[in-house]
């Protein structure tokens, strides 16, 4: 039940990505291309997601614990370190080049598009490589 519910929640996420247009790299490029063929749609994606999550989280946190776990797993770090800011900036460069963010690319695999498979393979290599590099540095 625990794993099956995660599958259903993933299905809702993927459907949201598909319906919203986040699955389409051209829409990503046009959202950021304010000086050119601007398409503000993705502000509505962000707005809709933030309103629901902001309110929903607060309702959920009134409970003592989640249904399938003994506690909520929330990040505890507060420091604004260079890895956070630099890593996010790096991510943005890649997002601007490819038009895929991780959450957009995964459902795009389901469309059977070759570009999504190429991107996801490279992204996994980058993710794994950077983690290896950081673990070697300690």
């Amino acid at each position: 039940m625990r794993v099956f519910s995660a599958l259903l929640i993933g299905l809702i996420f993927g459907a949201g990505i598909a319906v919203s247009g986040m699955i389409n790299p051209a829409k990503i490029f046009n959202f950021f291309d304010i000086a050119g063929t601007w398409d503000p749609s993705l502000a509505f994606v962000m707005g809709g997601a933030l309103v629901v999550t902001f309110i929903g989280y607060r309702l959920v946190w009134r409970r003592q614990r989640p249904v399938f776990d003994s506690q909520f797993h929330l990040p505890t770090r507060k420091d604004l370190d260079p890895a956070l800011i630099g890593g996010a900036a790096l991510f943005g460069i890649g997002w601007g080049i490819a038009g895929f963010c991780p959450g957009g690319a995964i459902p795009a695999l389901g469309l059977g598009e070759a570009q999504a498979f190429i991107f996801v393979a490279a992204m996994l290599a980058g993710l794994w490589g950077m983690r290896l590099l950081r673990s070697l540095k300690g």
């Binding site: 625990r2 519910s5 995660a6 599958l7 929640i9 299905l11 809702i12 996420f13 993927g14 319906v19 919203s20 247009g21 389409n24 051209a26 950021f32 291309d33 304010i34 000086a35 398409d39 503000p40 749609s41 994606v45 997601a49 933030l50 629901v52 999550t53 929903g56 989280y57 309702l59 409970r63 989640p66 776990d69 770090r77 800011i85 890593g87 996010a88 790096l90 991510f91 943005g92 460069i93 890649g94 997002w95 601007g96 080049i97 490819a98 038009g99 963010c101 995964i106 389901g110 469309l111 991107f119 996994l124 290599a125 980058g126 993710l127 794994w128 490589g129 950077m130 983690r131 950081r134």
Partner: protein, 142 residues
């Protein structure tokens, strides 16, 4: 050009939010895609099951929509293969360093009013906009 789709985008965004809320309510977890992917790469996260299931569901969603409604979302990826690979490597490295991406920082973290997530989101939104500007208006596109 892409068509402005405020209603569909708002509805899709609300669905993304709903999935984040349900994952918190049932599993107590942040719906961050890069974090889930990282848990499925060696060394594997101990409880990889829910992560794998979530991602399988996300991949299967467009297929299910197509089968049930006959609707296939618009998809137009114009980036040449070499640049897709470079972009993918950069995205993977960047989200690992930043401990999150659009979903984990941009939606879940911002909804928690996490300072780290707000700063990360500002950082990647600005750098994406600059990158798109450089590619489209300075280099003149791929």
């Amino acid at each position: 050009m892409t068509e402005f789709t405020p209603i569909l985008s708002l509805a899709g965004g609300a669905m993304i939010g709903l999935s984040a809320v349900l994952l918190m309510a049932l599993h107590g977890r942040i719906a961050g895609i890069s974090g889930m992917l990282q848990g499925l790469l060696p060394p594997f996260a101990k409880d990889w099951g829910w992560r794998a299931a979530f991602l399988v569901g996300a991949i299967f969603a467009p297929v299910l929509i197509l089968v049930m409604t006959g609707w296939r979302p618009a998809f137009d990826a114009s980036t040449p293969t070499l640049w897709l690979v470079i972009g993918g490597l950069i995205v993977g490295a960047g989200v690992q360093l930043a401990s999150g991406c659009t979903s984990g920082h941009g939606i879940c973290g911002m909804s928690r009013l996490s300072a780290r997530s707000i700063v990360a989101t500002l950082s990647f939104m600005i750098s994406t906009a600059v990158t798109v500007y450089v590619i489209r208006h300075i280099i003149g596109g791929f």
